[in-house]
Subunit: 466 residues, 2 copies
């Protein structure tokens, strides 16, 4: 065994205890909200058959899927299939993509949505629909690593599948509000509807180019109206259509004003009016059932994931901290399971981005002070007999539900043991020397104040909040 | 997109809600015990650099590590390095193992111990030693799948690194007892010590063959004493040594009797006596600090993981259910981090096998009845106005911390809505029709008894335990 410089692979991270407890706070909050709303947990394997994943995320997505090499002598299957074995080796004229399909049959999941669709189809006979599931697991993408973008990151998804009712959309907005209110993040929940975008494309006479148009409009915040128009021209949208779009892109107003404006604009588009009606129902129900803290608004420039969303589209942004990135998003998709053989099953879901939520909370200092590492009491002793004396006392505290430790090295210097308590942010230290052993009164030191007093183990137990 | 028959890869599983809640019960119990004992959580990435993992698990282990194909055109690096590009393709005379190192630089973790060692070395300047960490994450092995053995499974590890004190061993036995007592599994915790095994090899004059000897003795349960002796002969242990071993292998008695016997047998072996002394200290301390439910005993045939254990060796078996497999194991290793450049750092740890624990608990019906899916109340409504009436009531219950749902499809038949409640094991159903809307008294149906009564939402809230 040679010495290896230890490091995590590019774009991946270790999570140390101080970060873990904060991350767990986020996961636990999301999980509690999911459960309160009646979503049930599932988990799927990290690996999926490559055929399950490929072709679901576009060409770019396919490229970013991590493939797993077949185990054993993977060149055997390669040689078998190509039939072109060279002298003691092999040759292949095709490019690496073809070679990949021969030497790799499994891949790491790229998101939780496609594995969920696969799950629903595979287990359809055991599932009672509508099926409300949540799933909190890591996903992997071979993206170029950069600040805030990792090759391994967690997604926290909640979906309802098998129900077309708009109540699901309403409930998901409430759920997003619940999570961010509990996390104390002030947010704006933006909603849009694919049908409104279809209506717009229709009335400007560019139905076929709906994706091009919405991708351009989606960039309004970043590139401004000039940039949007430039992109539209570049993508072959005619001048007349672009002019028809201007009042819409430029329109500013409340959600109610936007809806009134859209009703006039899309008066001749059946699909457009349907989309407006859906948004109106969601918004008006939410108006009658106040959200806890989030602001919910219509944003017709919102177009994320348009490739598969067919109705509502959601995106959540933090109102503070200047972090413009989306911390949650989702929408309705009418036929995600069709590709696996179960057509006409409508679903709607949202996905929380734990890493971005972490970044927002960390930047805004939103983690409660109580979210720290968990040991409450450290026993410090001065030798073997003292340590032996402490062992049943540690057990006693633990049995009371108090997280407690005994410094393991009995001979260690007081200073070293106290430094350990400090490093772990342990609030209480119990010091045991020969005096304490004789009197059965232990020295309790409160680390924050430095105060000390002599107490029985029962009094100490009562004193420590738990 | 073509239709794909949906399936998980061989040896991997989906976890459906009913199984998830049981698994989470196991994980939560283990986690709570880890925290009570002052262990802090870390997580490491699913992928490690291949160089971090290879050579740590023996030749067999290396073969079972899942390798990840380099992303992008992996043949480019291959062509660059081999320098033997064929006509429009490539050739290589070497075998697949060499090719693997060129086209794959990352692999999925095989256990949690090696990534933890890598973590400790990488972050050594930020860690206060002794470092008590826990880690609950999946690992992947390209083993041939069979009943109870999967290619993806969870490990739940707790280790103390940077302390040689035997107190750590004592505490880990207490921790194993805590976990299995809380899970209501009756267990035997077997302990042994590498130094005793070294002493035995020494006094029979076969120091060099300690691994061969212990691997054979380890099989006593399975192949009997004849089988053990046969294996010893086959591995070149001389007849005299084998005869010296017989009384030891055959010895039956209490742990105290075993220790007395060993003291005589190993009287001339310094290392052997040291091992006996360690076991004696652990056992006598545990005798003075009663375990909650486990039985702890010396088993000199216990030799698991001998390649790296240097002191204590632990293994836990369930006393019931006829499931002979180990549900927890561990030991002390004196130099795990040396290979990554941090020598002389002693550690001791244990690993809970969540899947095997699940199998034992499921077979013995040990999951508490309270471990079920989580929705407590379903609102059933007969139309759009009733549904609208229910929405604020659902919110009200949720705000009280009660997990509640509203059947999303307002027009659905009563029978269908009730079937949903049954399938999800929802204990309370609230039925809302026009009568209920008028009187503001809702019909509460208790599913277990079928009893119904009309109550205000406040009375219902009070009635439902939460």
């Amino acid at each position: 065994m040679s010495k290896v410089k230890p490091n995590t692979p590019k774009g991946t991270r270790d999570f140390s205890p101080a970060v873990m407890v904060k991350r767990n706070y986020i996961f636990d909050t999301i999980k509690a909200a999911f459960q309160k709303y009646g979503f049930l947990p599932i988990e799927t394997p990290a690996m999926e058959n490559t055929s399950t994943l490929m072709g679901k995320y576009g060409e770019e997505g396919d490229r970013l899927i991590f493939k797993i090499l077949n185990s054993g002598d993977f060149t055997r299957s390669f040689k078998d299939k190509s039939g072109k074995v060279g002298e003691g080796g092999f040759t292949l004229n095709d490019d690496y993509r073809q070679l990949t399909t021969i030497i790799s049959e499994k891949a790491l999941r790229y998101d939780l949505t496609v594995p969920f669709a696969r799950y629903v189809v595979q287990h359809q006979n055991d599932i009672t629909f509508p099926f409300k599931r949540y799933q909190i697991q890591p996903v992997w993408r071979a993206d170029r690593p950069q600040k805030g973008r990792y090759r391994e990151f967690y997604q926290c998804d909640a979906d309802v599948i098998g129900s077309k009712s708009l109540f699901n959309e309403i409930e998901l907005v409430q759920l997003m509000d619940e999570v961010f209110s509990k996390l104390n993040i002030s947010t704006t929940i933006k909603i849009n509807n694919r049908k409104i975008l279809s209506g717009i494309a229709e009335i400007i006479g560019e139905q076929e180019k709906i994706v091009t148009i919405t991708v351009a409009i989606d960039k309004l915040d970043k590139i401004g109206i000039e940039g949007v128009n430039k992109e539209l021209i570049e993508n072959g949208i005619n001048q007349e259509a672009i002019e028809k779009l201007q009042p819409l892109i430029k329109f500013e107003g409340t959600t109610a004003e936007k809806l009134t404006f859209l009703k006039q604009l899309l008066a001749t588009s059946e699909v457009g009016l349907k989309g407006i009606d859906e948004v109106e129902k969601i918004i008006s129900t939410l108006d009658n059932n106040e959200l806890q803290s989030a602001v919910c608004e219509l944003d017709i420039t919102l177009a994320r994931g348009l490739n598969y969303y067919t109705g509502a589209i959601f995106e959540v942004k933090s109102n503070q901290g200047g972090l413009d990135s989306s911390i949650c998003g989702g929408g309705r998709y009418d036929d995600l399971t069709g590709v696996f053989g179960l057509p006409n099953t409508s679903g709607v879901g949202i996905s929380f981005g734990a890493d971005r939520i972490f970044d927002v909370m960390d930047a805004l200092n939103l983690f409660p002070a109580s979210v720290t590492t968990s040991t409450q009491v450290l026993f410090v002793s001065f030798g073997e007999p003292e340590q032996a004396y402490c062992i049943p006392l540690v057990t006693k505290l633990r049995n009371e539900g108090i997280s407690a430790e005994l410094y393991p090295d009995a001979g260690a210097k007081m200073k070293k043991q106290m430094a350990y308590a400090n490093a772990k942010n342990i609030p209480y230290v119990i010091v045991v020397g020969s005096d304490e052993m004789e009197s059965n009164l232990l020295t309790l030191k409160i680390m924050e104040t430095g105060n000390q007093e002599k107490l029985s183990i029962e009094d100490i137990t009562a004193k420590i909040e738990h």
